[in-house]
Amino acid sequence: MWALVILPAPMLVAQLLLDQLGADPIDKLERLTGHWALRFLIASLAVTPLMRLTGWGWLVAQRRFLGLAAFFWAIGHLSVYTVLDWFFDWQEITKDILKHLYITVGMTAFVLMVPLALTSTKASIKRLGGVRWNRLHSLVYVSVIAGCLHFFWAVKKDVTEPLIYAGIAMVLLAFRVVWQPPARR
């Protein structure tokens, strides 16, 4: 399963080494890692609706998997940004995060994923209790909205792609509002 998540990574590295990423490979890598993070994050939102529609409880493990996959790619995205794009120029990076809203929002999306990744184990669910764990993990909704906004604002003019991502995310979020799980007795 993890092979699926990691698969794009060696492809990107190979493309980088073979000089297949165009004239500005750092920019390209930054975009592609970001795309994968957002794709997995949005895919993780699809699991709950699918479970409710099909009743397949085993899907819950895939939700964790997809969430962690998104986190993995978000780390990749952030690494490209700090190492390749800015080469640890912390002064510029700090300014970038504080002054430029699309970076602020992107960092927010990432930071919110950290506690979720840290509490993704069964043991954490037990320790926190289902209700509290669920409440904590609803942060993913904020993260995905921030991620979509980050993508939207990062684009210069042609917002087709970010709108597609945001559209899918909105449908998956709306599902949760429209289709509440039946109250437990």
Partner: protein, 265 residues
Amino acid sequence: AALEAMARTGGAQEDKVTPEEDATSYNNFYEFGTDKEEPKVLSRGFVSTPWTVQVEGLVKKPRPYSYDELVGKIAVQDRTYRMRCVEAWSMVIPWRGVQLRDVINRVEPLPSAKFVEFTTLFDPKRMPGQRSAVLPWPYKEALRMDEAMHPLALLATGMYGKSTLPPQNGAPLRLVTPWKYGFKGVKSIVKIRFTDRMPNTTWNDANPSEYGFYANVNPTVDHPRWSQAKERRIGEFLKRNTLMFNGYADQVASLYSGMDLRRNY
């Protein structure tokens, strides 16, 4: 050799010519698609001969000029210029072309002309990117008359030692104003119009808070969404500092003396 370069450039990083492959495969030319790799592919087979340029507005005799009539008799020059994109990347491109002021003198604008406007070809059949309304077509750019008459302003007709431009770089005629962001460099020009009022320009129309009329390279005035202080030279790893007027301040700063460049971005 490094010391020698330091001595020559006063400590500034050296300007190495960008590989031709990069300058001809990484293009912002939305008429041929919004991805930078698209213009090279989607402009393949774009024919720019014959080519006519309509000269309009405040000129002695408004009329169409054939490409040869307009630029054919003007001495061609080779000029290697830095090009700084508003997206914070840059290149160094050896252009070939004619001084814009020679072209302007040739078509004889009236003294009342204060601005000159350039329009890109609008032909969605040949420019497939124009089938979607990502920008208000046709693409228009303009200069104040004194900017246009500046000796650095070039109408490029070729690059990398060749006498024609590749379609993705704006064949057959393209504006080059190296002290301004790249988007001022309007490509595949079919119309030159002289006017006494500041013309609308495409990116300014599309997003006035982000792109101004002047679009002078200025590291101290950020784009609302990103910093303009540094840039990545294509082919280099570490970013370099962006220079005021893209390093051409000595030549062009006087054009803007007394102007608030924060407002007139």
